[in-house]
Subunit: 211 residues, 2 copies
DNA sequence: GGATGTGAATGTCTTCACAGCT
DNA sequence: AGCTGTGAAGACATTCACATCC
């Protein structure tokens, strides 16, 4: 299959969200233009994004809402549920565990690890915090393929190496560090301070432009 | 000034982080190649990114670490501190307030709003949660230009409109909704479920490839 | 010698524009 | 008529490669 750009995949994910809104409202069909305005892009972009995977629309009519939604779920691999391993039972981990958006889309945080003795063994958001050292014993042979790292920089690389050895193939990393992993492993970084810096850059440009 | 791509700005932000590590370690100079390997890019990319803003290096030598760090802080608008308004005193808001990475870089969450009567008035992470309805009274004339939205979709657009009216110019949005704002306002979305979906897509591709 | 800075070449993504269905 | 699907064109981003300077 041809390689699709990440921006394209991100947009597909957005389109799916809009389609689900239409689905709930019972709207039967939708045009590329309607998806485009909601997503802040153009109708040509929407059609091109979809065209990488096939032709799902009817000319003159648009796209069948439930049909396209199902197709996108298939493309994005969302037809199945995923067990997700959470590393770090801190505030951020708690927020993520509580966050409904994950469960809604089939991402279930089924286990959480921490290395702080004050946390290990405690009940926490409906789970029991497990000791970090149990990771290998628990995960070897487990079907979990996705992990979320919600821990500080220190130790993040070490835990990553262990997760990879246990068969984890995709990591959502909140630690402020560039993880090094084998090519076969996918890592997505969420770096909140960096996002604010992009905003700061934009603000500074505004200031300079207005002088 | 020429328009710089967002990916370029994001990389500059990364380089700055690496430079700060070098700074702490007392390393006097660094080459584009060293920054590149840490950032997972190429030396040519590093030099090109920097070249949009000037020539900061010495041929044959590399870049002066504190000098380049200062220059990047200036470019990114990080020489000053920012007051940040937080909307939403929930788990996510709490995690963000506690998160050291913001303060470290001069982003200070100075006030938090919520509309849940059970939260308003309470002490919370060193702040007192203020009633959402106070927003206009507090913010009009305040220097705060950045807001973080850590609330559910419902109400996010309404609060956004009010923030914009109060002079907020940049918004970091954690709500799962595409905010509509005037062109002059900068919005960055952090959509954690979407990140997981990108991972899901990658996993599905791996599965398909191995069949 | 060693590393920068940068035009030119290449590669990638987006937009255009229109033929082709419904 | 209306909207899709898609080559072709255009815009943008990355990589190459080398003259330039320390």
């Amino acid at each position: 299959m041809a390689k699709i750009s990440e921006s394209s995949v991100r947009r597909l994910s957005l389109y799916l969200r809009f389609l689900e809104e239409f689905e709930q409202r019972g709207t039967p069909t939708v045009s590329s233009g309607e998806l485009a305005t909601r997503g802040g892009t153009t109708s040509a972009q929407v059609r091109k994004d979809l065209s990488f995977f096939g032709s799902f629309g009817k000319r003159g009519l648009g796209y069948d809402v439930p049909g396209l939604a199902a197709k996108l779920r298939d493309i994005l691999g969302l037809k199945r549920a995923y067990d997700v391993v959470l590393i770090g039972a801190g505030k951020l981990g708690g927020a993520l565990t509580q966050y409904g958006g994950f469960r809604e889309r089939g991402f279930n945080i089924t286990v959480v690890y921490d290395r702080d003795p004050g946390r290990v063994g405690r009940r926490w958001n409906g789970l029991v915090v497990r000791d970090d050292s149990q990771l290998e014993r628990d995960l070897t042979g487990s079907p979990a393929k996705i992990a979320i790292l919600a821990i500080p920089e220190t130790g993040a690389q070490e835990v990553t190496d262990r997760l990879v050895r246990c068969g984890v193939q995709a990591i959502l990393n909140f630690a402020n560090i560039q993880l090094s992993v084998p090519d076969s492993i996918t890592v997505k970084n969420v770096n909140m301070a960096l996002e604010l810096e992009v905003l700061s850059y934009a603000l500074r440009n505004q200031r300079l432009a207005s002088e």
